[in-house]
Amino acid sequence: MQIDTTTFVLQLINFAVLVWILQRFLYRPVLAAIDRRRAAVEKTMGDARELRAQAERLRAGYEAQLADWERERVRARGALESELATLRAKGLADVAQGVERERDRHAALAAKRETDWKRETEQQALDQAAAFAARLLERVADGALDERLAGVLAEDLVSWPDGRIAPLAEAARAFGGRVSVTSAHPLPEAARERLAQALAARLGVECRPEYAVDAMLLGGVSVGVGPWVLQANLRDELRVLAGGAAHAG
């Protein structure tokens, strides 16, 4: 256990040289490689952080855009609901008006049907009454009734105003005084004479009556002057009765 000076000094030098050798050929290259890798890793981490920051910014942008879209959606939905409410109200009003119109139309139809029914019923009643009266008068009418009605016609001609007589007179002149006289029964000569005189006096022309019998008249006469026909018989009176009642109804 002793220290050799030469060995001691040489070992000092040896270790110092070994420190230099290892520093030069081991530590420095290895540490440089580690530093390069750390720098690369740090750069990668920096890039990743930058990418992350970009992604965060993008996400924030997207979230802001989504928020804008959401607000726009809510606003559009509100506008849509408002518009729908307006349309619904308008539609309901239209439907109500349509229902009201339909109700009025149905009421009018019902009233018209009722009126038509009443008129038809009255017409049927009048027709039946006319038919009944016609059957009754057919049994009770005779030549005397025709004569009286011809007299009534002669009396009425006198009372008619000139304005009403003028076209008859013109027609009589146009047909040369030819007048057709139709009665339900053969008229007596006196009745014929009186009717011809009344016509000639009122029409102002010489009349040439042509007599005929038509049982359908039931009773009374029908005088034709050209296109004009003067009715004084039961058939036409009953018609006037039925038609006038229907017209009045």
């Binding site: 220290i3 050799d4 030469t6 070992q11 270790f15 290895v30 540490l31």
Partner: protein, 227 residues
């Protein structure tokens, strides 16, 4: 324990076997470093991974005690660990003796540690600040500081020398007494002991250097804070 014999003379200098073994170790380490670091790349292979792992383990161990500038101490402390591991394990190679079984080598390393403590301490804060820490907390403690410096340096040299020399001697005695194959467990113990002693020596050196830097640095930081 016999001193290492002189193998040859280089002029007036007698070169001992320990020196020759040390040269051999230096040559092996230099060649291995040169070859291993020849093709370091961005994508490390197995060898580069092992190398980087070893260097980073050394750096992390230094940073645990001296986190300010671990790379400043890495060459010296790292070389201590690497050299002592290889030198201690050289004893299990047939025909070789551990150079660390030579007190001249361990004393040289202890002196280097002693000098490096002061070198790094002065380098960190200058002569005045470094020498002032010997007078703190009281000038009365200066003899104890000096005694501590001396004793820990001697202990550093003797501890390594004693352990490695005694280990080889124990293996030799067991081989003489028990015969062939029996010293194998002793050789395994040699491996463990070699690693442990290398770690202890390097760690103590690191502790001494770090404490030498921080002992004179802490008061200054306190003074700066107070001003």
């Amino acid at each position: 324990m016999e001193p290492h014999p002189i193998v040859f003379h280089l002029g007036p200098l007698g070169i001992s076997a320990a020196v020759v073994t040390t040269w051999g170790i230096m040559l092996v380490l230099a060649l291995a470093s040169l070859l291993a670091t020849r093709a370091l790349g961005e994508h490390p292979g197995k060898l580069q991974t092992v190398l980087e792992g070893a260097v980073m383990a050394i750096e992390n161990s230094i940073a645990a005690l001296f986190p300010q500038r671990p790379r400043m101490l890495l060459p010296f402390v790292g070389t201590l660990w690497v050299f002592l591991v290889v030198a201690n394990l050289a004893g299990i190679v047939p025909g070789l003796h551990s150079p660390t079984g030579d007190l001249s080598l361990t004393a040289a390393l202890a002196i280097l540690v002693f000098l490096s403590v002061h070198w790094y301490g002065v380098r960190a804060a200058g002569w005045r600040a470094y020498l002032r820490h010997y007078l703190s907390p009281s000038p009365l403690l200066l003899p104890f500081h000096l005694m501590s410096e001396l004793s820990r340096t001697v202990a550093l040299a003797i501890r390594l020398f004693g352990n490695m020399a005694s280990l080889e001697m124990a293996a030799l005695l067991v081989l003489l007494v028990a015969g062939f194959l029996v010293p194998v467990p002793i050789l395994l113990l040699h491996v463990v002991e070699a690693l442990v002693q290398a770690y202890i020596f390097g760690m103590l050196a690191l502790v001494y250097i770090a404490s030498g830097i921080q002992a004179q640095k802490l008061p200054r930081e306190t003074t700066e804070t107070s001003t």
